[in-house]
Symmetry: C2
Subunit: 345 residues, 2 copies
């Protein structure tokens, strides 16, 4: 019951053969393999991961890093848990396990990553919440630890990432609003330090210019990606003169706070102000008027992340001939009532 040695003795076979049998290696009689598997099942033998890891220098565990800052906790709405289903469905094919690694808010994410890989807790990492300059990426790339980032970054040179289609979303939102007659379109986004903030606002700017509308920095409202941030964005919005007729929110949660501020100011969303949110969040689903936003499948994204990550790992690359291509993940428009009215009417 304890160890492969016991199992071998019980079968009266050498431990080498038992190991080969269990791991599907050649050089073992099919008859013997069956006996071994049956005995393992019967005695409830499961290989000790420490021994295996030590020998082959690999842990068979993939880490999904999560920043457990207060902001993430309050605003991410199980984004990561939604990812795990897709991730695991792929990893399970290779008997890999997934663990979520919550980086304590008082520890430097860079140090945390270093510690986790140096201690050999995981073989590879999935990063998220990338910064424009991200030391974690530089470190992992230099140390040649397989990883994939959910989000682009200026760091790390030529690494593999998957990122949401901010350009597409911003362009779609602007197109929609312009088609309804809007010209003064505000945007609420986090600061440029967060990669998302930078990329999104740039895409918004290009989309405007494509329509011949001049980009006005005053219409870019920098706030936190939260309900409170949305309230604050609303506060800034009503003080703009003339008041914008539309606003694009980079996080849907902002809509909750924005709506509240609008009600206070006597501005009716969906009638006096067109609103488009970005990523659909469960807790914004009930808003009245319903919010126009963009949807994606977290599960599918998880699958893509896992497959692309495995493609970067020599041991698994053969199974994923598509290779480790960085990709832009598309989102689907969900039309709501919040931007349904036309300005010309």
């Amino acid at each position: 019951m304890r160890g492969i040695r016991q199992l071998a003795k019980h079968l009266d076979i050498s431990i080498g053969t038992v190991s080969r049998a269990l791991n599907g290696k050649p050089d073992v009689n099919e008859e013997t393999r069956k006996r071994v598997l049956a005995a393992a099942e019967e005695l409830g033998y499961v290989a000790n991961q420490s021994g295996r890891s030590l020998r082959q220098g690999t842990t068979n565990v993939i880490g999904l890093m999560i920043e457990s800052s207060k902001e993430t906790v309050e605003n991410s709405d199980n984004f990561f848990l939604g990812l795990t289903g897709g991730l695991q469905s792929v990893l399970a094919r290779h008997k890999l396990d997934l663990v979520m690694l919550p980086c304590p808010s008082d520890e430097d994410p860079h140090e945390y990553v270093k510690r986790m890989v140096a201690r050999r807790v995981v073989d590879a990492m999935i990063l998220s919440a990338t910064q424009r300059i991200d030391k974690r990426i530089d470190f992992l790339a230099k140390a040649k630890i397989p990883f994939i980032a959910l989000g682009r970054s200026s760091s790390g040179g030529n690494y593999t990432w998957i990122d949401l289609d901010f350009e597409g979303v911003a362009a779609c939102a602007v197109d929609r609003l312009v088609a309804k007659g809007h010209r003064r379109i505000a945007i609420a986004a986090p600061s440029n330090d967060v990669n998302l903030g930078y990329v999104f606002v740039e895409a918004y700017r290009r989309s405007l210019e494509r329509h011949g509308i001049e980009y006005d920095p005053a219409l870019v409202i920098r706030v936190k990606s939260s309900e409170q941030g949305g309230y604050q964005a609303g506060h800034e919005l009503v003080r703009l003169e003339p008041r914008p007729t539309a606003i694009i929110l980079i996080y849907e949660l902002m809509a909750i706070g924005l709506y509240r501020r609008m009600v206070e100011a006597g501005v009716v969303p969906g009638r006096d102000l067109a609103v488009i949110g970005f990523r659909e969040e469960p807790r914004a689903r009930f808003l009245q008027p319903t919010l126009t936003c963009f949807r994606m499948s977290l599960r599918d994204l998880g699958v893509e992340l896992a497959e692309t990550l495995l493609a970067t790992m020599p041991a698994y690359a053969e199974f994923y001939p598509k290779g480790a291509r960085s990709t832009i993940w598309p989102l689907e428009l969900v039309a709501g009532e919040s931007d349904a009215f036309s300005l010309d009417a």
Copy 2:
């Protein structure tokens, strides 16, 4: 070639001494210890966890198990991520790491736990979402793997748990409503299979009887713990004759759906119907009228969980002389507008 051996060679000391120096063992000169620590820092040496685990049969990792079912993903609202801060602050004292283990929705939680401990991925586990009959608990108790459960269960005999104060919450809610003149008080709860559903409704029943109000099974509405469940509860509620004047919700999220159904039915929460929610959820915070509910600190709960778990582990028990007591975790009432009106007025 890297590893403790190289460090030892670099210092011209035996590896045994290096190991003892790093781990704060006695039998090593303070002068030598300093040199070792300095060299380790300089060369960026971090002990290989696999080797260490193999030798001492312990992984120094604690697992927080999460059911990643669709329902959890949609409704738990980062409950677990909120816990990690408190957990880690305690575990860090002993150089223990925390990983979150999301059980795939298509795998039996019992098998998952077995696999994780048999593979020696973690030393101990924190369980949640306990069932009234929970095979995981029976297994861990029998295998003598340290664990703690967030939630009581009928399984496992004498194990250590921490559970929310459902009795206190139910009693407080009933007391409040009765004091305002309510007699027909409904409750929305999940089925009795979920331990929470069972315990909560029992507490509700006893509280009613304490006030001399007859318990009416028709007022117990069994629905899912979700927004949709709340909507459905509202649907059932308006069909009851005579209509209850108050309702207690076991999950605050239900309030969102309930409010929606009430609006449809022309019933105004906070005027025609008193509503009390249970655990404060971020995404219900904006409701109008504001919801009376119960609050707790996830961080503090995390600390308590970790300390109690460590108290059950021989290697750490000495640091937690309070011992491994099961405890009831209190919640604090947050009075809102949803039950402010008095029935007699």
